[in-house]
Symmetry: C2
Subunit: 103 residues, 2 copies
DNA sequence: CTTTAATGTTAGTTTAAACTTACGTAAGTG
DNA sequence: CACTTACGTAAGTTTAAACTAACATTAAAG
């Protein structure tokens, strides 16, 4: 799961994901969207994202269309939910710790 | 926002966040939880997380207690929600693309 | 006002990973 | 079956960031 977060954290891969958020595109067109990055580099990033199940592939002749795999984000989401949702136990622990240091 | 994700993506920082999920701890005790990492390294990681507003600090004498700043996760959460939530427009675009390649 | 405890900071080294160049492959086209 | 198109892969280089060792700081205690 940490590997999924690492996959997302790279700026280029983040941009690729954002690009594919609402559409599917072939690898070549994805590369055209970036001026400062070559096609092979994009290809490698796609591989990383695919390995982490964050992208899915659809083949059509020589073309390979990529789109975001919504389901791949569920683990990351669940993890972040734990940070977002305030825990009663946590608040209690914080209060106790504060109490202790006052002594 | 990409910097927040990068902050979380490092395994050591990820472990620190997990450790502080339900409790606050002073820097020294955080470091004690990791065998293969020195105290200065932990200190640097704390700095990165604090810069990205993912940790908050409470000073008590010479000690500095750290805990997770729930609010700091809101941007990341909002971003991931967009991937999680299936978009009607997206499904439409995917269908159209599929149609086009069949010609 | 020196001393200690807890922590932060800086410089320099090591390590990981992103990128480029060159080559390989697989599916159509004439 | 040569040729092209669209893409993937591998080797090697470059770049970024994690780590260590040594020094600095800040707040209490004697």
């Amino acid at each position: 799961m940490i590997q999924q977060i690492q996959a997302i954290s790279d700026p280029t891969r983040f941009a690729i994901l954002s690009l594919l958020k609402d559409q599917e595109l072939p690898a070549g067109e994805i590369a055209e969207n970036f001026e400062n990055i070559t096609r092979p580099a994009v290809s490698q990033h796609i591989r990383v994202l695919k390995d982490q199940h964050l992208l899915q592939e659809r083949r059509e002749g020589t073309r390979r269309y990529y789109s975001v795999n919504t389901k791949g984000f569920s683990d990351i989401r669940a993890f972040l939910e734990e940070f977002w949702t305030p825990k009663l136990q946590k608040l209690k622990t914080l209060a106790e710790a504060e109490e202790r240091t006052k002594k």
